[in-house]
Subunit: 208 residues, 2 copies
């Protein structure tokens, strides 16, 4: 089997059915415009509850989610997005601010009940906590983006924002640090350009 | 609808069919032992080619994958895993060393052809490149773990390894930095303990 940069995997090698492959991985696209169709809180809850199951380091689950969907919430978030992301964020029916709890170790006794003392390993080194929270939170952000697609919606992840500003505006009472902002909705008109290329297999995969 | 920590999302809120929800998110488990069933290179290729489509910052795709599955490769990798991870890594039919290309910006003219000059933004600051490569590589690692499950296989992601040692042993000729190691195979006997809890919805999700 030879795969070029834009070919699809053979179906017989995957257990996931072709429609689901397309929904989550191969046909889904990052949306840049959105329709007015509302996204309900029940949908946002279902997305979060689906995304929470895949693995994190020692089950620490550092990801935290703030769903912004009211006009008041948008008024607070909009000025903190970079100029190139502001209009589309304001037009999205729902926006997920993905953050990590830099005090995630305080939940270890609850989440890893057979080894609560692991909490102590993280007390002395806040910089290491932030590094591990960001890494594991990014893994969870990957699960979350695919969970948005599992709800039949388009995701629009963005790194262009004033993270310290968002933390001050929304999380001043807790040790949460914003890592990614994701627009959520149904794709609107001219929502994307042509699909961008990916690397050729041999340029990103090696075998030993 | 009230969801408790261990309930499943209602099917009518998700487009992804229930079997696929279970395969990727809710029933799949992190495996700690593996059967002898081989994992073919064609399967590993299909997993990689499925995982490469979801989004990264400016389509930079910094993730690189080294699949280790020969006895010679295992002999080189084994001593670089932490003691608690060594036996299971040696017993897995295939192991993915996930790394990021800290010179990912050199691929921007290929991957973002309408804006090749964005490469210049990253030349002067290697520390920022490494930070962004690690973050976007972790997003891709999340997609990759679910793509392993999409192939009907179990993933076993691990952070306990000598990363600098792996980079020296396998990537001495290139600027790749290891971020995660993932065992791949079919679950063996006693492959996991009881499922660990997740946070209650209100402890990780807020609405504004």
């Amino acid at each position: 089997m030879t795969l070029t940069a834009n070919s699809q995997p053979s179906d017989d090698l995957l257990s996931l059915d072709p429609a689901a492959q397309e929904l989550l991985f191969t046909a889904a696209r990052t949306a840049n415009t959105f329709t007015d169709d509302p996204v309900s809180d029940e949908q946002l809850q279902a997305i979060s509850e689906l995304a929470k199951w895949p693995p994190t380091m020692a089950n620490t689950n550092p990801l935290r989610i703030l769903f912004v969907r009211t006009p008041e919430g948008k008024d607070r978030l909009g000025p903190l997005m970079s100029e190139g992301n502001r209009a589309k964020t304001l037009s999205a029916p729902a926006v997920a601010v993905l953050a990590v709890d830099t005090d995630f170790h305080d939940k270890i006794p609850e989440l890893l009940p057979f080894r609560p003392q692991m909490r102590e390993n993280f007390v002395a080194d806040p910089a290491n906590r932030e590094r591990l929270a960001t890494f594991n939170g990014a893994l969870q952000a990957g699960y979350f983006i695919l969970a948005i697609r599992a709800a039949g919606l388009a995701a629009g992840p963005m790194l262009g924002f004033d993270g310290a500003g968002i933390d001050r505006e929304f999380f001043s009472d807790r040790p949460w640090k914003t890592i990614l902002v994701v627009n959520i909705g149904r794709p609107g008109p001219d929502s994307w350009f042509d699909r961008l290329p990916r690397l050729a297999h041999e340029d990103y995969v090696q075998y030993a």
